[in-house]
């Protein structure tokens, strides 16, 4: 009896998973991520921006928000332009953090921090659809590229929340 109940529950879980997967449909035809820029005083290497660009594209592909995630500067058909977006952004603040402070004080002191603003713009009329403010904090001993990973994940998550729910 217990085995049968467990099997029925498993079947329901499987069906629920299947329907949830089907719910994820693309909101945009194409999404183009551009290389972000840094404001004056932000000391991040060009390799950071390269990696962040790759991560953002990877996260956008995973989120399935767009049918196609295109590279920077790729041409889009005029018919698809109204349903396409371009993501640009700026790193507004970067603090290296301090491993000593982090170890001695703790409670969030000395953490490495990154703030960036991401703009989602419609390709056809350049209308700003949304602005996302991202703030990431990581351990100062971690690689700066880890921050890029977290920031890209947060942007993709926020976009999904914003556009998939509006839809």
């Amino acid at each position: 009896m217990r085995i049968r109940t467990a099997l029925v529950m498993l079947l329901f879980l499987g069906l629920a998973g299947g329907s949830a997967a089907k719910d994820t449909t693309a909101v945009f035809k194409t999404a183009e991520a551009k290389h972000f820029t840094g404001t004056e005083g932000v000391e991040l290497t060009p390799a950071f921006y390269d990696y962040f660009y790759a991560e953002l594209r990877s996260e956008l592909t995973k989120s399935k928000l767009a049918s196609e995630v295109i590279g920077e500067g790729e041409a889009v058909d005029d018919a698809d332009a109204a349903k396409s977006v371009v993501i640009t952004g700026t790193v507004t603040e970067y603090k290296k953090g301090s491993a000593v402070k982090s170890a001695l004080i703790g409670f969030g002191a000395g953490l490495r921090s990154l703030k960036m603003d991401a703009d989602v713009v419609r390709r056809s009329d350049k209308q700003n659809l949304s602005v996302f403010h991202v703030h990431v904090k990581v351990d100062p001993r971690w690689n700066e590229k880890t921050m890029a990973k977290f920031a890209a994940q947060q942007i993709a998550r926020d976009m999904k929340k914003e556009f998939a729910e509006k839809k």
């Binding site: 990696y51 660009y53 790759a54 920077e72 790729e74 041409a75 690689n143 590229k145 880890t146 990973k149």
Partner: protein, 216 residues
Amino acid sequence: MCITGRLAGNFVLATVLFAFHARAVADEPKPKPENIIGVHLTEPVAPQKFEHAPKFWVSDVTDRSGNPQPMLVLKSRGGIFLDRQPTIIVRESLEESLKSANLLAADANSADLTVRVYLFHFGLAEGSGLDFFGKVEYSAIVKNPKTGETAEVKATGTSIAKGAARKKNVQKNVQDDLEESLKDATRNFLRGQQLKEAVALLWKGGNEAQKPEANP
């Protein structure tokens, strides 16, 4: 006695240094059949539609990466090597894709536009350490052989593949990562706005040069 002791000390130090150096040389990865990967386009990339559909010819691909070992992709874990030079891989990917859309000329003489590629990066770049970050970056000089006019087109392809613990999986993930970044770079070049503008500019220049001069 003191001098003999110093000499003996120096000799021991030199022997230790030599041993370390010999070990480092022995650790240098070498290409073997089991650590060589083949990177190809899984399928040709469809280029964008051009107004006049010119015929291209890839005249040359030059390595400008400054990498002394361009075929060594990963140094750790016994090394991972490419089966061919990156320049050959890039040329092949471009020619395959152009051919699939009937945009590849039969030879250099019959081409409307020639493409000379300068390869700046092919392989893995520094990532977060948790994954593999593949990057292919090049710049192409598109030239109209009739007028001699040129235009520059840049292309970049990136890909992120998950890390792995087993050597076999590392090799597979790195191969997938490089193939994806090669495909991305080829697509970025062939479907880019820069190429569209370059073709429009060079085609216009070529047609104007061909027109006979009007007599007053």
